[in-house]
């Protein structure tokens, strides 16, 4: 079984978000980048399934410039076998999906996994686009994934419940908790990651279909209005008369 795990390079979850003075770009200064937390579920589950089967490979794929390589190496340290970096700025979901679809097709991958969305763009788009480009099913978001031979059984979260879906390879799934407990690299992993293959390839396909014209921060909160705990019921009156939400 050949697994392709797509990872995105995103600002650490605790980052205070700021933009360049013209509001055209995210301000990367002093920001630590991590593997997108949802992609960690995809990566760990692929490694677990490969280990359970006793054979197979896990290839990690990133669309990004050279500055994403530390996180690609981290994914290798967690247990991926090899990596591919498409050397391009990930312009929009469509552009990224084109890169993934091209590599998935060329490498004849059986299972294409990624997180349900990135915590920076929050698109929830790439997995569906890749599935459509390749003409294969996409299960998004998947909270459980088991494999028996070429058949996968997945739990797909829907509003208020879940669907149990069975598909044959090849397929795309976007992952979220509680699929697995994401692994962290150990020392041996970190040492071996240095020598694992990382191939850099150029981008293909058509240009992006959407562009970000400007970023904006949400309006600042007015500040909290504190109510005395002794008189807690007053809160309910304020929620009705002032905030008008009940």
């Amino acid at each position: 079984m050949k697994f392709l795990v797509c990872i995105s390079n995103v600002p650490d979850t605790t980052t205070k978000i700021a933009f360049t003075p013209d509001n055209k770009e995210f301000n990367k200064a002093g920001v630590q980048f991590v593997i997108n937390p949802w992609d960690e579920y995809a990566l760990t589950r692929a490694i677990e399934l490969k280990e359970a089967a006793g054979s197979g490979t896990v290839t990690v794929l990133n669309v990004g410039q050279a500055d994403t390589e530390p996180n690609i190496r981290k994914a290798l340290a967690i247990g991926a076998d090899d990596a591919i970096r498409v050397d391009a700025v990930p312009q929009d979901a469509y552009f990224v999906a084109e890169q993934i679809a091209a590599i998935a097709k060329e490498g004849a991958y059986d299972v294409i996994l990624m997180g349900k969305e990135s915590i920076d763009y929050n698109g929830f788009q790439v997995h569906g686009m890749v599935g459509e480009m390749l003409g294969i099913p996409t299960i998004a978001p998947a909270q459980k994934l088991d494999m028996a031979g070429n058949t996968a059984t997945l739990e797909r979260e829907i509003e208020g419940g879940k669907e149990i879906v069975q598909v044959n390879t090849p397929f795309v799934a976007s992952c979220q908790q509680p699929m697995c407990e994401p692994r962290i690299p150990n020392m041996r992993g970190i040492m071996t990651a240095r020598t694992k293959p990382l191939k850099v390839v150029p981008a293909v396909g058509e240009p992006a279909r959407t562009t970000v014209a400007e970023f904006a921060l949400p309006p600042k909160k007015q500040g909290v209005k504190l109510i005395d705990a002794e008189n807690a019921g007053e809160l309910i009156h304020l929620l009705r008369s002032e905030a008008k939400v009940i």
């Binding site: 937390p37 788009q125 208020g160 149990i164 209005k225």
Partner: protein, 325 residues
Amino acid sequence: MSVLVVVECAEGEVKKSSLEVATYGAKVAAMLGTTATAVAVGEAKAENLAKLGEQGITKVLYDAEPRLKDFVNNAYTKLIATAAGQEGAKVIILANSNIGAAVGSRLSVRLKASLATNVVELPKIDGSNFMVRRGAFSGKAFAEVSLGGDCKIIAVKKNSLEAQHDAGKTAEVVAFVAQLTDADFADAPQQVVMQDQAGGILLPEADRVVSGGRGMKGPENWHLIEDLAKALHAATACSKPVSDVDWRPHHEHVGQTGITVSPNLYIACGISGAIQHLAGVNSSKVIVVINKDPEAPFFKAADYGIVGDVFDVLPKLTAAVKALG
């Protein structure tokens, strides 16, 4: 050339988020000087579909194929693409739900459309270009995105605009056959399991949410959360540490790697307000924080706060809600 709106139905009713989507679509249609047609997915009832006239929809296409009751990605995609073709629709509006966004991404490739998800406002239309505002950085920012090209798909975030209700207006419900075949249902679910929701209120659709954190000290104390939720007609939720230790099920976890909610009212009880939790709730209209630690970071993101013991404060709040009648 009409605007096509995808409305999701369950148990015969149109979902609340889809009433918002229908309103959004009707407003976009008015901006473009055209009409809004809806296509229904899920288990729909014709009389409820006709009521979409109240949101400004003129016509509703409804394929009575029984297998469309459950979400099937390929079948839904083909149904909507066929409807768009028949109506000559170049603008498609869906809910930014697990169904809407999943179908939207497939459709965007099939119809060569530009796509924006998580959209929070009506577009600014300039000729063939649409500028839309969408949530980014897990609710910590917005991005103004330009959608070019001939065809556009917009997935609207829940609670971004209020559904319009023009009483008495009805839409024409038209039978529609998308000629779906068995192959379109190849990825149909084997089984659909719906959660047993407290009070029948689904967390992702809820207007009000009462949420508990580790400060609740154990699952045996959750009746305090549930009592207040019941009195407020709210859904219940929890923080990640709570679902991690199985005090509450994972589908109640809101936060960075859980569910994102944007209700009118979010009441956090015994939750300190880690940045990962805030990412899941920060687009709520009003946030109330109850915590005995006055230094809890959540107070900085709150509109109202009570510094106090949740075990003391929650029963008082429940009593006060009941007293409102």
